[in-house]
Amino acid sequence: MAQPDAPGAQLDALLSSRDHIPRLPETPFSRAVDPLIEWLGRVSSVLWPILVAVITVNVLMRYVLGRGLVEFEEIQWHLYAVGFLIAQAWCVQNDGHVRIDVFAEHFRTRTKCWVELFGMLVWLLPFVLLVVWFSVPFVAYSFRIGEISEAPGGLPYRFAVKAFLFVGFVLLAIATVSRLTRVLAALFDRSGR
């Protein structure tokens, strides 16, 4: 465990706290996609130091050259948008989304599984699928008209960043289905016990 002289380690432990439902079984599907989701989440974490660098360079340019670049300002929110969208799937995979578990932590594991099943089928999946469904025409339209930034000197290929709305929610759907199979296995699969 954490050394007393490394308080950062305590925060690590807190943020990677255990799953709300302990010992959720793996399934063939979750074994296939969960490592991919986790890998994407970790790789996308590199966006934050890049964002720090872009902001710093832009501020420096404003004071050294007397003006910042519109491209640099736009690239900032491009990076941030991609970052928080990709993070969603990883958060589902490692159960990082906030729960109010004052009562729920005392539920039996089976009850927790039923709540999880209900939440995913009635709330999360319909929500995600609705966004995916309506994001297709949204991205396609941007692609068709060759949309670029409204700002002079702004970035081209606006559909590309818009496409991450679609990509992020598709990944979220995949992570949800993976967790769904695990909860279903916990509830109904007696073969492994």
């Binding site: 954490a2 007393p4 002289d5 308080p7 950062g8 305590q10 925060l11 690590d12 432990a13 807190l14 943020l15 706290s17 989440g41 970790r42 996308s44 974490s45 590199v46 934050w48 130091p49 964002l51 720090v52 872009v54 902001i55 710093t56 832009n58 501020v59 900032q76 929110w77 941030y80 948008a81 970052g83 928080f84 969208l85 993070a87 969603q88 990883w90 958060c91 990082g96 989304h97 906030v98 729960r99 109010i100 004052v102 009562f103 729920a104 932590e105 539920f107 709540v115 999880e116 939440g119 009635v122 709330w123 999360l124 319909p126 929500f127 609705l130 966004v131 949204f138 991450f164 709305l165």
Partner: protein, 450 residues
Amino acid sequence: MEYGQILAILMFLSFIALLFLGYPVAWTLGGLAISFTAIAWISDTLFDTFVGVDWAFTSGIVDRIWDTMKNWVLVALPMFIYMGIMLDKSGMAEQMMESFVKLYGRLRGGMALVVCNIGVLLAASTGVVAASVTLLAVLALPAMLNLKYDKGFAAGTVGAVGTLGILIPPSIMLVLMADRLSLSAGDLFMGAFIPGMLLGALYIVFIVIYAWLKPEVGPVPPNREPITFKVIWGVVRAAVPAFLLILAVLGSIFFGIATPTEASGIGALGAVLLAAINGRLSWKVLKDTGYETTKTTGMIFGIFLGATAFSLVLRGLGGDDVVEKGLKALPFGPDGIVIAVLFFVFILGFFLDWIEITLIILPLIGPVVKDLGFDLVWFCVVMAVVLQSSFLTPPVGFTLFYLKGVAPPEVTTRDIYRGIMPFVAIIAATTVVVFLWKDLVLWLPSVAYK
């Protein structure tokens, strides 16, 4: 009352009730948006009602998410988070701890004062409560318990002071509030500065008086060093990095040199440099900071996505009318209505945390409060003070969870609840002061950027 408005009320009530199932808050919000769209759509098609919320209406969520994606101000959020987590690992707080202890060691409740001082400095350099509460708890709680401090007093001090980070700018909560009400994040930062410092000062006053009246809660350590010039010099040196960061982030916003977004990036860079100077910057620290930033950002924006959908549908059902009519029908004057709102927020804070209240409640009541003739910057700051309590009031409070997560096992939940109570009372008192004396908020923004 119209059918749609009844649905709106039902939607809100079912949110509060269903939260306790323990399913993630983000998707409970997003899911209820879908459920109530379905209910409205079915009753419009089958029973000839005229709610007007259907799938085409709710598809507007895609545009709302896009608005969030291209929102340049919100870029500051992951940057402040990155800064907070990096600062947590940079060793800055440990150095302050070592030298501050020597300065305050001779006083009753000295360790609590050390926690307060470091907490306020941390709060003014960053704004992530998870980072500051865990840091203070790990650094100071074991030491305080060794000195036979009262467990509740020790835990309460750490929790309340660690929570100051979300009120004293820079703060991710103020960035979110500014975004929801289209205010300037810089104005809110400036507005919250004096009330935040006032709250910190009142904590210190409380600790001094309490430890003086009841010496057994904060005993003086037996082997104390005399205060020499060297000790004071050590304190100054240890506080320099924090002051430099505060100057870089808050100073550049205050003097109009940088926007809050730029300041957040510069602050994050400062935290990285500080870690490097202290020899703490390793590949592992860089990686972990990145991962934790992604996780924390993902968690906050998950709620953001869900709350955006929830608010869209709630408004579509006429929820904003319900709130406006309901508030204006209260038999009080404008002041009374705002007091009622704040009291309501305080009560909600027992069950919800700041993110939901900021994202869902604030946009509903903000326009009404403005209509009544109040300054929204002032109102946001008063609400930010009240929301301090949402971290600290059981059963649902982030700070309580963090404390329980990292405190030594002999500190019980009861100790934490007991210790936190006087601090909640101080928050209430500060709310009253800021409510009565609006200049505490409005003076600084009026002289900044000149």
